[in-house]
């Protein structure tokens, strides 16, 4: 699928929780191409500082309404400029980019009755909503385990609940749900004899913990990785990760997070650093 470049009009922007924003663009051609787990590049200004576009996951898309929605955390210069955008303004974006989640209809999923479990750390919830929509359409809305430092970091939960997803929370300060890490929520999962299929996005440490848990239980697990990214097109080789390889003489190669990922099967990734 070929990405396209767009001067997209901002339809609305809202600060959902302190420093967490949701922005919706009118971009019909782009919306038609999106797959859950893909991302777009957002050029936040027309100047040369900040210079590079910001990669942001596609949170939601509606091919009928022609809209694309992002959910982002204001962490620095670029996201601060984006947060200033008003409805009616145009922003240069291009995408969809990368390879997203393995969807319900995919051939390479394990056989049997699957239970999708989405594990989000903070803003890592962003790319999971459109995935939950896809599973909900086939009658398996699944479970969202959402973790963060505090209640103010947990967003978009109502959208998941509206799809029939069971939502369970963990916060490090105990301000919402279980007090502690999101991994603790696995202790009381109602599996009902189904095969869990893990999808996770969040800080690297959390991804690694979920990967280890999945490995131990024998559950398939996909992770969405983040690396410092530049072109987003597989050209500059900035954003690589170590991936297992079976070529002669090699145990690993550098895969491109932007085009081979950002979603990988967790067991393919080498988690040494």
């Amino acid at each position: 699928m070929q990405p396209i470049l767009y001067h997209a009009t901002v339809l609305e922007q809202e600060e959902l929780k302190p420093a967490i924003f949701r922005i919706r663009f009118m971009a019909p051609e782009l919306a038609r191409l999106c797959q859950p787990g893909q991302f777009i590049q957002v050029r936040v200004n027309a100047m040369v500082d900040p210079l590079l576009p910001r990669p942001i996951s596609i949170h939601d898309f509606d091919s009928e309404a022609g809209t694309v929605t992002l959910l982002y955390h204001r962490v620095g210069k670029g996201t601060a400029i984006l947060a200033q955008c008003q409805p009616g303004e145009q922003v240069m974006i291009w995408g969809p980019l990368g390879r997203g989640w393995t969807l319900p209809e995919a051939q390479d999923l394990p056989a049997g009755d699957l239970l999708p479990i989405y594990v989000a750390g903070g803003i890592g919830v962003a790319p999971l909503l459109s995935l939950a929509k896809a599973w909900s359409k086939v009658g398996k809305p699944g479970i969202l385990l959402c973790g963060g430092r505090c209640e103010e970091q947990l967003v978009a939960l109502e959208e998941f609940q509206a799809l029939g997803v069971d939502v369970d929370l963990a916060t490090e300060d105990g301000s919402a749900g279980h007090c502690g890490r999101v991994t603790a929520l696995f202790d009381h999962l109602p599996l009902l004899g189904k095969m869990p299929l893990l999808y996770t996005c969040g800080p690297k440490g959390m991804l690694k913990a979920i990967h280890e848990l999945a490995l131990q239980k024998g559950w398939p697990c996909q992770v969405s990785l983040e690396e410092r990214m530049c072109c987003g097109l597989g050209a500059c080789l900035s954003c690589v990760c170590k991936r297992e390889a079976s070529q002669e003489g090699k145990t690993w190669t550098h895969a491109k997070v932007c085009t081979d990922g950002p979603v990988f099967w967790s067991k393919e990734v080498i988690w040494d650093d």
Binding site: R43, V48, L52, R228, C231, A235, C236, L237, S238, C239
Partner: protein
């Protein structure tokens, strides 16, 4: 219509707009945004004799109006390039320039011989200036006699146009240019990236895993332009492939007026994936507006006044 044709040391191009090695992958990555047939030439990612996995991450850090990179020449090897990537580029008809890096003089010779034997490659860009690899790399690019040795070695192994890409990390760029032209370089490419670094103050450590990286983007443009001007002044007959921060057509025209026969668009591709075409169209518009019939007439124009 202005005649945009230029000749870069024996390589005939329909226009002066090319891509800077390492910023345009192997070409097809940008096909969704750029009609690759319209480019003057495509310069591909730096290749080496053996495949390389490159450096650890983080490999990139953004800086004011620029960026640092320390990719470390990750590439599938020259064989891998010729087998996996070149066939798809061939039908475009756009000249393909392959950028090469060696650890030793012998490797440069072998690379040149392999490219010489490969019909689909139009010219060689010799990278004697990569700041991001531990061996060879930078020394070849900073000591004039070593730069000359590399150039001589490549020259002996190919009849194709040889473009030697110089490092800006030297005291006198004209000395380097003269050294390589004396032993057979057909053209000079400049500049490669400027060695730099950035520190993460919260973590109290360098932002790049490699500690140092190459600075590129608008921040380096004045330095690059000055070097193009100096080399053209010293060696007016030698064609230059100018680059370093070119982001707009105006930037490109400045380089041409400083003495560049052709230009390469690098970091700007990341900022605007259509940058090459926007720059090409901007050059056309400028020529039309200024009543320029032959672009070649503009080369070095800033020197005569």
């Amino acid at each position: 219509m202005t005649d945009l044709k230029v000749n870069l040391g024996g390589l005939a191009m329909q226009n002066p707009v090319t891509t800077a090695s390492g910023t345009f992958g192997f070409g097809l990555e940008y096909a969704p945004f750029v009609d690759l047939r319209r480019l003057g030439a495509i310069v591909v990612k730096g290749t080496t004799l053996e495949p390389r996995e490159g450096n650890a991450t983080p490999r990139m850090a953004e800086t004011p109006a620029g960026m640092l990179n320390a990719i470390g020449l990750q590439n599938p090897g020259i064989d891998g390039f010729i087998k996996q990537h070149l066939p798809a580029l061939q039908p475009l008809g756009t000249p393909i320039i392959v950028n090469i890096s060696g650890n030793t003089l012998e490797e440069y010779g072998q690379l040149a011989a392999m490219i010489d034997a490969c019909e689909g490659i139009s010219a060689i860009e010799v990278n004697i200036s990569c700041p991001n690899v531990k061996q060879g790399g930078i020394q070849f690019g900073t000591v004039p006699t070593m730069a000359a040795d590399v150039t001589k070695m490549v020259r002996e192994h190919t009849k194709k146009p040889v473009i030697v890409k110089l490092s800006p990390n030297v005291t006198d760029i004209t000395e380097m240019a003269k050294a390589v032209v004396d032993v057979g370089a057909d053209a000079i490419a400049l500049i490669n990236t400027l060695l730099g670094m950035a520190i993460d103050t919260k973590q109290r450590k360098p932002q790049l895993a490699n500690i140092f990286g190459g600075l590129s983007g608008p921040a380096v443009k004045p330095v690059a332009l000055r070097m193009v001007y100096q080399v053209h002044r010293a060696l007016p007959a030698v064609p230059i492939l100018g680059m370093g921060g070119i982001t707009t057509a105006e930037d490109a025209i400045e380089f041409i007026m400083a003495g560049a026969t052709a230009i390469a668009v690098g970091t700007a591709n990341f900022v605007n994936p259509k940058a090459t075409i926007d720059i090409l169209e901007g050059i056309e518009a400028f020529c039309l507006q200024e009543g320029i019939n032959t672009l070649q007439d503009l080369v070095g124009a800033a020197h005569s006044s």
